[in-house]
């Protein structure tokens, strides 16, 4: 079977990549500035809703409902989309999804597609696959454009170019955008204007657009894209053919369920009451928008993730990126160190599960890329207990590697601490559990500031039971 492109070939294991990233002071400064800003704004946006915790619980429950009956909801979605004139495709893995998109693009007579930012298509390496098939993919989201022009890699779910500051962006535009004005300054407004001018013709002439989906409603077949710039609307409205690639977990049962996520998502991601544009479409509407609509349902490791009773909660993720913005490890290492389109806390639990290969050194290092401070869980709008899944996956890594490897030693230190609530509390006070993992897991050089968060929150005690069960088993 082909390698899953969710991780980037050649990225070193997290501790090594992180160490290198830590020496890049510009990167750290850019990240600290951006994440500090967004953290402050997010707490204001969240604080404005008195029922925030109720919304989180509802969001969690809606997603659990979908995951527990995923087969029937997918079949229902397929029926509703088909009834409204859309065409549904199923893809077991990245290669199959890429092949479908390439085939549909060629059938539409296009050698170029405009793209709305989408994690699913980044995960499967669609742009590269299209390129190899003779089709050019044009990223139209400002941050994706910055990454594409800078021949760079994304480092954040929401803002893939978060590691670049305004003057670096100006340099990239000046260098790579032939039509950028010679007088371009680093004023964000001018940079946005340059991107607008650069992409305008492409939008107006594109025959085919490729998008992801934030949500799809099983009952009605409606698909939702949440965005800011209007590049999404351009792609979803102007071309004749629209191809949407969607992870199979992106469903909600009914229209009403979106009332929960339309509140959770914008406040968690861009920290706004509402993002500038949200588009909802159902199949094909005669005379309005694309007259050919394809929905590609993507597995690519999701069913394997679903099979893990603890790990499956990661499939609730709505890709808001709040967990990245509050993570002390992410803030220092940046997204690149995680070697995947999914960085940060969600990446640490999702990437290894999608990859499904814990023998791979880089993949196996990801669940250790955390101090278990728990800030991610508090921020997560669908209440994914990321620390719990991290500990669970660490256990699996160690089982996969045998109990005498360095990770096993690290895990035993961690286990020793965690078995006893008093020791655990002491470890929390001393700094964070990361210290205990550090030695054997060789991530000791990261500054672990966990205490800043741990003081004011509940113990992120990973589910004592399953942890102990793991410990008995591996020690045994």
């Amino acid at each position: 079977m082909a390698r899953n492109p969710v991780t980037w070939l050649g990225t070193p294991a997290f501790p090594v990549a992180a160490k290198k990233a830590l020496t890049d002071t510009q990167l750290r400064r850019n990240l600290r500035k951006a994440t500090t800003t967004i953290r402050g704004k997010r707490s204001l946006a969240v604080g404005e809703l008195p029922d925030w915790e109720d919304l989180r619980r509802a969001g969690e429950a809606v997603k659990n409902e979908v995951l527990s009956n995923l087969d029937s909801y997918l079949e229902r979605l397929e029926r509703s989309v088909t009834a409204r004139g859309g065409i549904v495709h199923w893809a077991r893995d990245a290669a199959e999804a890429n092949e479908i998109v390439l085939r549909l693009t060629k059938a539409a007579g296009a050698d170029e597609v405009v793209k709305v930012k989408s994690m699913a298509t980044a995960e499967i390496g669609l742009n590269e696959a299209l390129e190899a098939g003779g089709v050019t993919a044009i990223e139209t989201d400002l941050a994706e454009l910055i990454v594409q022009l800078g021949k760079d890699r994304p480092s954040h779910i929401l803002v893939p170019a978060i590691h670049r500051n305004r003057s670096e962006i100006k340099e990239i535009f000046r260098r790579e955008m032939p039509d950028a004005p010679a007088t371009l300054s680093d004023e964000p407004r001018e940079l946005a204007e340059a991107a607008r001018a650069h992409l305008r013709r492409k939008f107006l002439t594109a025959k085919v657009a490729v998008s992801g989906a934030n949500f799809a409603v099983a009952d009605t077949g409606s698909v939702v894209v949440v965005e800011s710039e209007g590049n999404g609307r351009m792609c979803l409205t102007l071309p004749q053919t629209l191809i949407t690639v969607m992870g199979i977990e992106k469903l909600v049962p009914s229209w009403r369920d979106l009332e929960v996520f339309f509140q959770l998502l914008p406040r968690s991601s861009t920290a706004e009451r509402m993002n500038p544009y949200t588009s909802v479409w159902t199949g094909v509407t005669p005379g309005d928008g694309p007259q050919e609509f394809h929905l590609v349902l993507l597995d690519n490791g999701r069913t394997a993730t679903l099979a893990d009773e603890v790990g499956r909660a990661a499939l609730r993720c709505i890709r808001c990126s709040a967990c990245l913005n509050v993570c002390p490890v992410y803030e220092r290492t940046g997204g690149g160190a995680y070697g995947s389109v999914y960085p940060g806390p969600i990446g640490a639990i999702l990437t290894p599960q999608l990859m499904g290969n814990l023998q791979d050194k880089q993949t196996a290092s990801l669940p250790f890329a955390s101090s278990l401070c728990g800030a991610c869980f508090d921020a997560c709008p669908v209440r994914i207990d990321i620390p719990k899944i991290l500990v669970h996956l660490r256990g699996k890594v160690v089982s996969a590697k045998g109990k005498r490897g360095p990770e096993a030693i690290a895990m035993s230190a961690l286990a020793w601490v965690m078995r006893d609530p008093k020791r655990f509390a002491a470890a929390q006070r001393a700094g964070s559990l990361g210290r205990f993992v550090a030695k054997g897991g060789r991530i000791g050089r990261l500054p672990w500031p966990g205490s800043k968060w741990t003081d004011s929150r509940d113990l992120p005690v990973p589910p004592a039971e399953s942890f102990r069960a793991w410990w008995r088993r591996t020690r045994g």
Binding site: K33, A34, T37, P50, D51, D54, L55, R57, A58, A61, V62, N64, E65, S68, L70, D71, L74, R84, H89, W90, R92, E96, L158, V159, I162, R166, P188, A192, R196, R200, L204, G221, S222, S228, E229, G230, R233, T237, L238, I248, R256, D257, L258, E259, F262, Q263, T270, R273, P276, Y277, S279, V280, W281, T282, G283, T285, D288, G289, T303, L306
Partner: protein, 207 residues
């Protein structure tokens, strides 16, 4: 065919993955469906303006005077109108292009703006929703022109997101608009004006 084999395989994998037969808890709907926000129109006007959209509140009988005045002040000469926009909204001093037969992309792109009605306004989030209903037209009409003038009637404004969704039909093409086109991609700070209309002007009509 590959496709039906893939479909069967994905569904089979899901059924195997769910062999533990997880029993999800019922969905707790304890969150607020509506909420006391004070005067809805005040809140709506204030929050639309928070996104740096331009907001005016006018009395119904003054609406057309306002439309004329705003378009004149902007120097708009060629405006787009959905097919079923009320005739008396069309200022006499402007050249209007109705979307029938459907306007070309270039015609929309080179116009000075578009005037529409809307389906729903959401006070809490300062959002306007278009559903391609009366006076709104197809989606491209409100996307390509650089200026969108939108008329919201007071009775179209609801308090919360749940109240808005209850009024909308999801199988119509919907566009939720919260302020002018913007991006947060440069240092996570919101900057207005990318691909959608860079100026959003809203007229709230009250009796």
């Amino acid at each position: 065919m590959a496709s039906s084999a893939s479909r069967a395989e994905v569904l089979r994998r899901i059924r195997i993955a769910l062999r533990d037969n997880p029993q999800p808890a019922p969905i707790p709907r304890d969150y607020d469906v509506s909420r006391d926000l004070g005067d809805l129109i005040d809140v709506f006007a204030e929050r639309v303006a928070d996104y740096r959209a331009i907001v005016h509140r006018v009395r119904a009988e003054r609406l057309t005077v306002w439309i004329d005045g705003l378009l004149e002040a902007r120097g708009a000469q060629r405006m787009i109108a959905p097919t079923d926009l009320p005739e008396d909204w069309l200022s006499p001093d402007v050249e209007w292009q109705r979307d029938s037969p459907p306007l070309s992309i270039d015609a929309m792109d080179s116009s000075d703006g578009v005037l529409t009605a809307c389906a729903v306004g959401i006070a809490e989030t300062g959002t306007i929703v278009l559903d391609a209903g009366v006076g709104q037209g197809r989606r491209a009409l409100t996307l390509l022109p650089d200026y969108h003038l939108c008329v919201v009637r007071a009775e179209q404004v609801v308090g919360t997101v749940p109240e808005a969704l209850a009024r909308l039909d999801p199988v119509r093409p919907l566009t939720f608009i919260s302020g002018p086109s913007a991006t947060s991609d440069i240092e996570l700070d919101r900057v207005e004006g990318v691909h959608g209309p860079r100026t959003l002007e809203v007229i709230i009509v009250q009796d």
